[in-house]
Amino acid sequence: MARIKSTPRQIATPSAPTSATAVPYKPNTLFPENVITSSALLAFPIVTVILSSLLPSDPVKILGYSLPAVALIQAVNILFTNPAPEPVAKSSGNKKKKQAKNTVSTTILGLVLSMLLTPFIHLIYVLFGAPVTVSIPATFLLSAHTALLALFPILCTYPLDGVTWTNLVALKAPVTPAYTAALGTIAGAWLGAVPIPLDWDREWQIWPVTVVFGAYVGNALGRLVGAVFSGKEKML
């Protein structure tokens, strides 16, 4: 995996968005890369299978109970795979320790931010056609899961500045597992809406089971794609 050795701060330079070429994804120094990636890649298919088998019975309950577990898995993943977007340039003696501390605080901050952004995701689901007045808990929990899957890793990986996030929304940011996982989650959730209108009368067709399923599968696939193509300049 080819990576450009540079600090994430470089992205934040006030240049035009088109000139952003730096990759904020850096090799992990605590664990061997392949171990982390493969265990992370395994975790979500397992979660997907468990969730999708349980969901149709009582989506709200299952989504609610599984939320902390998903948050924990994500946090652990991020802690071990993504270093904090802090400058590593000032490499002092206890650099490793400092970095680990930074990572922890960034992860907590990311978790809080993604929870705060959940209503915003809820709104996006409503814009795509989710019910407005009914099934509010289900949609909200779906949004929370989406936030954990898509937003949380990005919030921990990328610096919080306008240019970076403009590039992220414009699909112009460089490929990283966090970013492709987010895009995969979005694509999966989008495709997850497709079977809902069919008149098959299956219990798994109730809102939001298919979307949750799609988001998780998309997330896992996106992660896989990101791991393979990581470092590629641009998405599109």
Binding site: A16, P17, T18, V126, L127, F128, G129, T166, N167, V169, A170, L171, K172, W190, A193, P197, L198, D199, D201, L236
Partner: protein, 988 residues
């Protein structure tokens, strides 16, 4: 913006250029007209094969004089009849013994065959051939009226399925009295014959309907029917006809398929039912038992089409009295033959519209009396002859009438009843054959011909779109070159098609097909001479095609057709998010902010447009209508009226804000939009307020006055919007420009003082500034667009009017985005496609559905109290197809929006015309592509259970869409030509 000065070439002759431009705009019209003609031909070819139609006669039969003629001897009638209809009872379920172990459905329902072997004078099994469409509703009509029901039974009302034709049910009810029927099973019967529900005895109900909707439920209906028929069977004297309709076999077929254990279980249950009924009437020789299937099923258990398994149903007759001449096991009869047979066995007149023949075995009786058969045949032939002489579609079938005359002569002349029967039966068979050919058969070659023409015109549109891009200079020269090729090709094709068609006696289809394909071949031949530049395909173009494909794929499933409005909103919101992502790519921060804002507005508009709705039957209970005040009324709510007034005030302000971005709210714009449009919209609001008050029960005293005021308002508005405004636009040419003179003496002086001789000599002493120059084309065309919007809005119900205002707002938003993101030049097809996609969304938002029932017939009386040809039709067309008309008219705006003229540049004006035509073909690619996918899906799904309820109406909507959008493109190309000529006149 300053008017740029440009050196005029000495050789230019403006007058010559003017007429040249006029010619260019005229010849450009040929493109949309030709593609429109191709689409029409394709639609007609397809519809000829698909939409079966038949006129209905309302006459009721009475017993003719022949009944009392001394020569006529009829078989003895039964007092009671038990009809057990097992839905989708295929013939081999009861009629085939097999070896035992091949299939789950063989050798299970064995009682009929065993009885027919052991007691051939009491029982018989027949193979009955049903006519397509093999759907229950159509089959029940056929089984009761003896006719060949098609999808569109012209003459019946659209709202109810009630049978208005003569039927044996109707004859029983009228001859034996209301209430002599008992019924249990599929509630379709009650919607066909509401009077069946009168069956009652001493306040005890004898009618037990069950919903037929849930295909997954195999047992509820059957268990219910079985539990109800036993007590009814015991009370023999309370009814003359008992109908029991079982659905389980059909549902098992749909759900699991015929060759499954579930089917075996179901058939075993049915066998028990038949056995028990036979036992129950064993001691009663006045009761006839009829067990039959309304249609069969194919190998997958579905039906609706015309395959062998679907049309072959089983029939079993039984009585404890010997009444049958023993028959061959394999005897095959027509399903409708049951109608005259039952009429004789029930002693009622043969229904007026009957086309079937009496079943020979039942007429002959156990002693094979041919006089009985001949008598029955004669009566039926008389009835059919009477029907034929009343019916308009039998002209030119004299050879069939001759058979009738020959048979009647034989009846009068001889007593060879066997031969007479044969003659009469031949007449009936020949007549039925003609009727089938005319009414009841999908003409697959014709449908395929339609699809081929759609496909070829889709390809031609694509080739045209790809070739006539901006790199092609003088497009009109090429059109001059292409037009005769297309015409010649068309004429050749017409001649060849007519010739070949004459030989194959398919003249109409072959001629149409030849004309269309010939012109396309001529086009292809001509295109070889036109230099093609391979320009790279933009991602937006791919997206536009993807949108067309995704919309088209919806037609593959009945669920998506039912929930199309929501699916489209989903697609448009998705497109909005793509616009949002693209907006974030803009390097300029200010433009980026503008684009992001409009993208968000577009997303919200796409979602809100899904909100106004009228639910179709299949959406219940997951849908609540909100188009009217309540689900049961067609009066608008007060809230809707208030919003309508708010819209009337705000929409002109919104249009103003868009015009102001190019400083174009000048010249005629304030008067036209700010005053004119606002007053018109407020008056439309007034009309609906009067309508609302009129509907109020408290205002009964003033109804007449209110009505008068209402019509004054609506007719005034009609005059202003449909006649006045377009006329004013054509005559007055309302440019949205303001000319400002500026004195430049000061500037020159200053330049001279600075020693800047260059600037001083180049600056003219007086300069003219034209405010709004940057959107000269767009603003001028927008005024016409707005006036058509007002006309369409006038014909909409209040909520529909609000939705149309939303559509105008969304189109403007999209145009602004197209300008900021430069979509018009990157991919001229993407904005027209999205506008056309929006039109279907707004079709639903204006209170319509893809059903005939959703047509808002009451707007026919918007302007007049009675039906008056032009007014009524305009109102209905604008109401139903308004969104498509507006979308088509909006397409030139994707070229004109924020386009400034190039003064004295004839070539530029012609190039603009070329771009308008190209944008138009973009929208036609969408409309034609949609119709194409719809036709393909309709052919594939023509045997689908829901073909007549869901797919056929959707096909009709797709046809109306392509016609409306194409015609609007033709009109908009014409108007755009006027705009280009006019602007050239001013600046040329």
């Amino acid at each position: 913006m300053p008017r740029s000065s440009r050196a005029i070439p000495a050789s230019s002759v403006p007058q010559a250029h003017k007429s040249q431009l006029k010619h260019a705009t005229r010849i450009s019209l040929l493109v949309p007209v030709w593609f429109f003609a191709l689409h029409i031909l394709a639609l007609v070819l397809f519809a000829l094969g698909f939409l079966l139609s038949r006129p209905i006669l309302p006459d009721i039969a009475v017993k003719s004089a022949s009944y009392s003629s001394p020569d006529v001897i009829l078989p003895r009638a039964f007092k009671r009849t038990v009809v057990i209809l097992i839905d989708a009872l295929r013939h081999d379920f009861i009629g085939s013994s097999g070896d035992g172990n091949e299939a789950y459905y063989l050798n299970v329902l064995t009682t009929p065959l065993m009885l027919s072997v052991s007691q051939p004078e009491h029982a018989a099994v027949f193979k009955i051939i049903a006519d397509p469409p093999t759907t229950t509703l159509q089959r029940l009509k056929a089984l009761t009226t003896g006719s060949l029901p098609t999808f569109i039974d012209a003459g019946s009302n659209f709202n109810g399925a009630e049978v208005t034709e003569d039927s044996w049910i109707g004859q029983v009810l009228s001859s034996r009295g209301d209430g002599r029927t008992a019924f249990a099973g599929d509630d379709t019967w009650l919607s066909l014959f509401p009077s069946l529900s009168h069956g009652a005895y001493e306040d005890k109900n004898l009618t037990f309907p069950y919903e037929s909707f849930n295909v997954w439920d195999l047992h509820t209906v059957d268990a219910g029917v079985t539990s109800h028929i036993w007590p009814v069977l015991e009370r023999r004297d309370d009814w003359d006809v008992l109908i029991a309709h079982y659905l389980g076999v059909d549902h098992a077929g749909h759900r699991f398929g015929p060759d499954t254990p579930q089917m075996k279980e179901k058939l075993l249950e049915m066998d028990t039912v038949v056995k028990n009924v036979v036992n129950a009437i064993k001691d009663d020789d006045e009761t006839l038992l009829v067990v039959l299937g309304d249609h069969g099923m194919d190998d997958k258990g579905d039906h609706g089409g015309d395959s062998k398994g679907e049309v072959e149903a089983g029939l079993f007759l039984y009585s404890s009295r010997p009444f049958l001449a023993p028959v061959d096991q394999a005897e095959t009869i027509n399903q409708i033959d049951l109608v005259p047979t039952l009429s004789f066995l029930l002693d009622i007149p043969v229904p007026f519209n009957n086309l079937g023949s009496p079943i020979a075995s039942a007429m002959l009786g156990p002693d094979r009396n041919f006089q009985q058969l001949a008598s029955a045949c004669r009566i039926v032939a008389e009835q059919i002859h009477g029907y034929r002489s009343h019916h308009p579609s039998f002209e030119g079938t004299d050879e069939i009438t001759e058979i009738y005359s020959a048979a009647s002569e034989a009846w009068n002349a001889s007593e060879d009843y066997e031969r007479i029967s044969e003659l009469y039966l031949a007449y009936q068979k020949q007549n039925l054959k003609t009727c089938r050919e005319r009414w009841a058969r999908f003409d697959v070659p014709s449908m395929v011909a339609g699809i081929v023409v759609f496909l070829a015109s889709f390809g031609a549109l694509g080739v045209f779109y790809a070739t006539f891009d901006d790199s092609l200079e003088c497009p009109s020269n090429y059109l001059n070159f292409l037009a005769p090729k297309i015409g010649l090709g068309g004429l050749t094709g017409l001649a060849v098609g007519a010739g070949l068609g004459y030989l194959q006696s398919r003249i109409v289809i072959a001629t149409g097909f030849g004309l269309a394909m010939g012109s396309i071949l001529g086009f292809v031949k001509g295109m070889h001479r036109i230099p093609g530049v391979k320009s790279p395909v933009s991602k937006w173009t791919v997206l536009a095609l993807l949108a067309t494909i995704l919309h088209g794929i919806l037609f593959a499933s009945n669920s998506y057709v039912v929930w199309e409005a929501r699916s489209l909103s989903f697609l448009l919101v998705s497109f909005g998010f793509i616009l949002l992502a693209a907006s974030f790519r803009l390097p300029d921060a200010k433009l980026r902010a503008t684009a992001v804002f409009h993208s968000l507005v577009f997303i919200i508009q796409s979602r809100v447009a899904e909100y106004p709705r009228i639910c179709r039957e299949e959406q219940l209970p997951f849908c609540t209508s909100n188009f009217y005040a309540s689900t049961a009324s067609s009066v608008s709510s007060l809230t809707a009226l208030i919003i309508l007034f708010v819209t009337a005030v705000t929409l002109p302000a919104i249009i103003r804000s868009f015009l102001r971005t190019s400083a174009s709210y000048e010249g005629s714009a304030p008067l036209w939009v700010g005053t004119g449009l606002r007053v018109v919209l407020l008056l439309i609001g007034l009309y609906w307020t009067l309508d609302y008050v009129e509907a109020d029960p408290n205002s009964q005293a003033y109804v007449e006055q209110l009505k008068m005021y209402k019509y004054v308002v609506s007719r005034l508005l009609f005059g202003v919007t449909v006649v006045g405004a377009p006329l004013a636009w054509f005559r007055g040419f309302p440019l949205c420009l303001r000319v400002e003179m500026a004195n430049n003496q000061q500037k020159i002086k200053q330049a001279l003082q600075n020693g800047d001789m260059d600037t001083a000599s180049k600056t003219s002493p007086v300069s003219v500034e034209i405010i709004g120059f940057g959107n000269t084309y767009g603003s001028l065309y927008l005024l016409l667009f707005v006036s058509v919007f007002a006309a369409v809005s006038l014909c909409m119900k209040p909520v529909g009017g609000i939705a149309m205002a939303g559509m105008v707002y969304q189109i403007l938003t999209l145009l602004e985005l197209g300008d900021v993101l430069d979509l018009f030049t990157i991919s001229p097809i993407v904005t027209p496609t999205v506008i056309a996609l929006m039109s279907t969304q707004y079709y639903f938002a204006t209170g319509h559905q893809a059903t005939l029932a959703s047509i808002q017939w009451d707007v026919a009386f918007l302007f007049t109290e009675s039906i008056r040809p032009p007014l009524t039709h305009i109102a209905l067309i604008f109401n139903t197809l308004g969104p498509f008309i507006l979308a088509g008219l909006a397409v030139p705006l994707t070229v004109f929006y924020k386009l400034s003229p190039s003064p004295r540049d004839f070539g530029a004006s012609e190039a603009i015309m070329g771009r308008v035509v190209r944008a138009g073909t973009g929208a036609m690619i969408y409309a034609g592509g949609l119709a194409l996918t719809n036709c393909i899906m309709t052919v594939i799904l023509r045997r689908h259970l829901m073909v007549w309820k869901i797919f056929a109406p959707r096909f009709m909507l797709a046809g109306a869409t392509v016609i409306a959008i194409d015609l609007a493109i033709v009109a908009s190309t014409f108007f755009a030509g006027k705009v280009i000529e006019g602007v050239y006149d001013v600046f040329g």
